[in-house]
């Protein structure tokens, strides 16, 4: 009661304002919400073209599921986006029914010219064709069997209409690439829209002109390390070897190889790397993958943990890539190292999404860095060896 009393003067005006605005807004929204007619939408509507290229003649196969039966004098109208042209020669006309087929899962409907309705078989007439707006109107022949509700209906327009004669007219696609609406109303209370994509054709060159060049280049010692690793390479590589030489505990060794890809493959390429084994010596000891034998995410270089009785922590070897556009992003960041992959799970080190010229960084060329470090616990041997394989493939 106190609340109501306190609101009786100042609060009353506030409430009045709120009610006025709410009513106004509700009225506006109501007018928008009730703009559209209360109609049942056709289901599963789609249009398949014989060719979706720009400005070409194409056949249309429209398919939809009726919600209501199409009975005596009921109509089916198909309204194509105005950018479709229905004026190609020979032109569509309501006197020529051969350009249209109407069928359901139960059988064909005969399509007749305007004014030629039959009643003995299921039939529609092509009542009118507005060639200016690409609007086609079919009318059910009164007295002929109905087109039932919940029926998958297929309408062919063009030379793909072959029942009762082969059509000789076709719609011409829009000349601009885009997405175009087609509205089907069947019968007059039920409608739906579908879209067709009109796009320029891809020139097929795959079987002849595509080419792919992959190279590995050696890098001498004293050169800049890959991917922002401070300092210079300590090992001279060849294109086919990385000779680590004698390793000293607590001292890192770095090496680099440069990769290049040239290709005109439209979707680009990927290069992965895998090892057949850890660096393994004839005595059975190995130098593990970075970091400490655990294959995790790329990380800043850390010395092996050298935990006694944990052989995996005596020494490790890692790889980094300067390519900042691996398919997963800039995975290797700056001087982040990862374990070299296996044949079952090779490590991606180079990737691009389009044609490449073999020289542009991140797109045709990159640098691969290798790093190794052992601890004083690493077993002595002079023949820790392994084989690495780069796999270079086009992206399909």
């Amino acid at each position: 009661m106190n609340l109501v009393t306190n609101l009786s003067r100042r609060g009353r005006s506030q409430i009045a304002l709120f009610l006025i605005v709410t009513m106004f807004v509700t009225l506006i929204n109501w007018s928008f919400l009730t703009r559209n007619a209360e109609a049942a939408p056709l289901q599963k509507i789609k249009d398949t073209l014989s060719d979706s290229d720009l400005g070409v003649a194409a056949n249309h196969t429209l398919q939809f599921v009726t919600q209501s039966a199409i009975t005596a004098s009921g109509t089916i109208t198909i309204a194509f986006n105005s950018n479709f042209s229905a004026t190609s020669s020979p032109a569509f006309a309501n006197t020529d029914a051969t350009d249209y087929d109407i069928a359901t899962s139960s059988g064909e409907f005969t399509v007749v010219a305007a004014g030629s309705c039959v009643t003995t078989t299921p039939a529609f007439e092509i009542t009118s064709v507005n060639t200016s707006t690409a609007l086609f109107t079919f009318t059910h022949c009164n007295g002929s069997p109905d087109l039932p509700a919940n029926t998958t209906t297929t309408i062919e327009i063009g030379t793909n209409a072959t029942t009762g004669g082969t059509g000789n007219s076709q719609l011409v696609n829009p000349v601009a690439s885009g997405s175009y609406l087609i509205t089907v109303t069947a019968p007059s209370t039920d409608s739906a829209t579908t879209r067709v994509a009109i796009i320029d054709d891809v020139v097929v060159t795959a079987s002849v002109a595509t080419n792919f060049t992959f190279t590995i280049s050696a890098v001498a010692s004293g050169q800049t390390n890959a991917n922002g690793e401070p300092g210079a390479t300590t090992v001279t590589t060849t294109a086919t070897t990385i000779p680590w030489g004698e390793l000293s505990p607590g001292v890192t060794s770095t090496a680099r190889q440069d990769l290049a890809v040239s290709t005109n493959a439209r979707n680009g390429f990927t290069v992965t790397l895998w090892q057949d084994q850890n660096l393994l010596s004839s005595i059975g000891a190995d130098i593990d993958i970075f970091q400490d034998g655990v294959n995790g995410s790329p990380a800043v270089w850390a010395s092996p943990a050298a935990t006694i009785d944990s052989e995996d922590t005596y020494g490790h070897e890692g790889v980094t890539s300067e390519d900042a556009t691996i398919s997963t992003g800039d995975t290797f960041g700056t001087a982040l190292y990862d374990a070299i992959g296996t044949s079952a799970a090779p490590l991606e080190v180079f990737y691009h999404t389009g044609p490449a010229n073999g020289s542009t960084a991140n797109k045709g060329a990159t640098k691969i860095g290798f790093k190794i470090e052992i601890s004083s616990l690493q077993e002595a041997a002079s023949d820790y060896t392994q084989s690495l394989t780069y796999i270079a493939t086009p992206v399909f």
Binding site: G178, F212, G245, I391, A392
Partner: protein
């Protein structure tokens, strides 16, 4: 004197041969690689038929290469279209490596030399219709060093994609169409879509993304999957396209994407979404203007209501209207109720604005 000069000449020639002789070996180790052509083969084929091609391999390195042939099936493509190679003997459902007849090598190719390697694909009579995918690698085997170190090899692939005639089905569905955000401060919008291949042939859906502003005007048309990336049967692939506009952009935008696919008739899958571009400064200025406008409306309505209520009050009680009614201060609960009313009012206005546009 002549003898000394001759000695110098011989020494110079000796040193020259050592240096440049080793330089030649060094150059041989500087670069290795191969050029393959074609790198992608896509063809339609019929069961029971044999098709022949020639692989051209060029040694682009400075050293003679011994290259071997390796055949592998492709078990799938990643969302980015990267092939995943099947293990030897693994059944993928669309194998073809067993149909490939090619000499295994090694092929010795001198620097700069091009070697033609012919091969055939014999399609079995009972080959399943639809997509079959595999690869031919030219492989350089790594040589394991004798002392601590790594031997490096490489494999370069040619991808083969065949569409075997028969009962083929082309069908796709959109799994996703979205932007990376709902509201942007500037027109830099990344559109992402995922398409699933429900048929038994490879499809390459591609098409336009039409962007219209809140006035219905088309402001841009982008191309999704312009490079026609492929999707294997029963797989999903992700495509992206970026919209950037240097001009002024504000308000609600709609994007409609339609992707066409199929070779036996072009089908379309489409979807639409909405997003907002609300530049910070412009939004602040606009909200400020709206706030001032509503304040003016509020004051005007309040004055009107107060006047009307006062008039009604005087009519119902003439004697009382002559007396001054004391103004009581509002209680805390009243203030709270009024604040809630104002919040509701603001919410209704904002909601209606968003709903309208």
């Amino acid at each position: 004197m002549n003898l000394g000069r001759n000695k110098i000449w011989f020494l110079g020639i000796f040193l020259f041969s050592i240096v440049f002789g080793n330089l030649e070996n060094a150059r041989a180790e500087e670069l290795v690689g191969v050029k393959m052509q074609p790198s992608i083969i896509e063809e339609r084929a019929d069961p029971g038929q044999t098709y022949s091609w020639t692989l051209r391999a060029t040694n682009v390195g400075a050293k003679t290469q011994e290259l071997y042939v390796v055949k592998r099936d492709i078990s799938g493509l990643s969302e980015e279209g990267k092939p995943t190679f099947a293990n030897f003997g693994e059944k993928t459902g669309f194998e073809l490596s067993a149909w490939v007849q090619i000499a295994p090598g090694p092929f010795s190719i001198a620097p700069g030399e091009t070697k033609d390697i012919p091969f055939s694909i014999v399609i079995p009579n009972n080959a399943s219709p639809g997509a079959h995918l595999g690869s031919i690698f030219l492989s350089s085997e790594p040589v394991r060093p004798e002392t601590t170190g790594i031997g490096i090899g490489y494999q370069v692939a040619t991808i083969i994609s065949l569409r075997i005639a028969g009962d083929t089905a082309e069908e796709a569905t959109l799994r996703e169409f979205r932007t990376d955000k709902k509201i942007y401060g500037k027109p830099e919008v990344n559109f992402i879509t995922k398409v699933e291949n429900l048929g038994n042939v490879i499809i390459k859906p591609r098409g336009p993304v039409d962007i219209t502003n809140m006035f219905g005007k088309k402001v841009a048309t982008l191309k999704m999957n312009e490079s026609a990336g492929a999707i294997l049967p029963n797989e999903v692939r992700r495509f992206e396209v970026l919209w950037q506009d240097n001009g002024l952009a504000f308000g609600k935008y709609e994007a409609v994407m339609s992707l066409g696919y199929g070779e036996d008739g072009r089908k379309t899958i489409s979807a639409a979404l909405a997003f907002w571009v609300l530049p910070g400064k412009l939004v602040g200025f606009t909200l400020g203007g709206i706030a001032v406008l509503f304040l003016l409306i509020f004051v005007a309505v309040k004055l009107y209501v107060k006047r009307k209520l006062g008039h009604l009050s005087r009519q119902s009680s003439p004697d009382a209207s002559l007396a001054m009614t004391p103004v009581r201060p509002m209680s805390k609960s009243s203030i709270l109720v009024l604040c809630l009313f104002y919040l509701l009012l603001a919410a209704v206005i904002i909601w209606s604005f968003l709903a309208i546009y």
